[in-house]
């Protein structure tokens, strides 16, 4: 947050209510009987919504200057994607090589 900005308590209370609703929805779907791929897509979308609320409101990213927001969001997203991509590609290659 720019260091002088003061966020109203109401913003955090609304975020908390949304987080609770998302948690209950995720739990209901996760323990339910829907097909696995449908469940997973729903849960992943809910997880991203939760992560957004925590990072952008509780960690104050929403109120920071744009360069910091871009650095954090793209820094972590691009690096994580690269990490996942390399790991999965390399791991699959090793499995194929060891189990011809």
């Amino acid at each position: 947050m720019s260091d002088t900005t003061i966020v109203k308590k109401r913003v955090f209370v609304i975020s908390w209510v949304l987080l609770m609703l998302l948690t209950f929805a995720m739990l209901a779907v996760g323990t339910g009987t829907a097909p696995a791929h449908q469940k997973n897509v729903f849960i992943l979308v809910m997880m991203l919504a939760q992560a957004y609320l925590v990072a952008f409101y509780f960690m104050h990213l929403r109120f920071e200057k744009l360069p910091l927001i871009v650095s954090v969001v793209f820094g972590i997203l691009l690096t994580a994607l690269l990490l996942y991509g390399v790991l999965i590609w390399e791991g699959t290659r090793i499995i194929i090589l060891t189990n011809p």
Binding site: I6, F12, M26, N40, L44, L68, I76, A80, Y84
Partner: protein, 202 residues
């Protein structure tokens, strides 16, 4: 003339961070990003090993969903109280800031206790780093590694909250110090959102 003087002042006395917040906060973000990538690699390894495994135990036959949900609610709520505490402090409402700070600290300690109970229950069922009754040793090894690493962060967070709280009590900590502690605490919560999803739900 004025511009030259501004540049000279900037060169000799330092200037404002290009990211606008103070340098302490920028470096806290750098730390959070690098720590976040460690968790990302752990979860990537979990995903890869799980999907290359022929089968995987049903987590709800091992863990109680309501118990895990309670842990999640507790941590998410503690982030809320921490954020309110920081904002109250900025607004000069010291009593309210102190109350919500204490609630955050207690929630952190309770979470640690709940995790210890969950681990003891899991170990009691025969799980260890090298094997478990469900026949997939990687399952318990990854579980202990990921939740243990996160638990270590919660423990660090609780310790930081305690130390910063003590410093603030004796007026040795600034609002920025409390804000840094809050940033770290919310990060611990953010990581749990991913662990809750990948380790328990999916």
């Amino acid at each position: 003339m004025e511009v030259t003087q501004t540049i000279e002042t900037a060169l000799t006395q330092g200037s404002e961070s290009p990211f606008a917040p103070n340098w302490g906060k920028v470096f806290m973000w750098v730390f959070i990003l690098s720590d976040g990538l460690i968790f990302a690699s752990l979860l990537a390894a979990y995903g890869f090993l799980r999907f290359t495994s022929p089968s995987w135990p049903n987590r709800w036959e091992i863990f109680h969903p309501h118990y895990i949900a309670a842990m999640t609610i507790l941590l998410l709520s503690s982030s809320t109280t921490m954020a309110i505490s920081v904002e109250s402090l900025k607004a000069g409402k010291h009593g309210m800031a102190r109350f919500f700070y204490l609630v955050t600290f207690l929630a952190g300690v309770t979470f640690l206790g709940m995790q210890a109970y969950e681990w003891s229950h899991f170990i009691g069922e025969g799980a260890s780093l090298t094997g478990n009754p469900w026949g997939i040793p990687m399952f318990s090894a990854l579980f202990f590694l990921i939740t243990g690493f996160h638990g270590f962060h919660v423990l660090s967070g609780v310790t930081i909250l305690f130390l910063v709280g003590m410093l603030k009590l004796y007026d040795k900590a600034t609002v920025h110090t409390v804000e840094m502690a809050g940033l770290y605490w919310s990060f611990v919560d953010l990581v749990w959102v991913f662990i809750f999803t990948f380790v328990y739900l999916i």
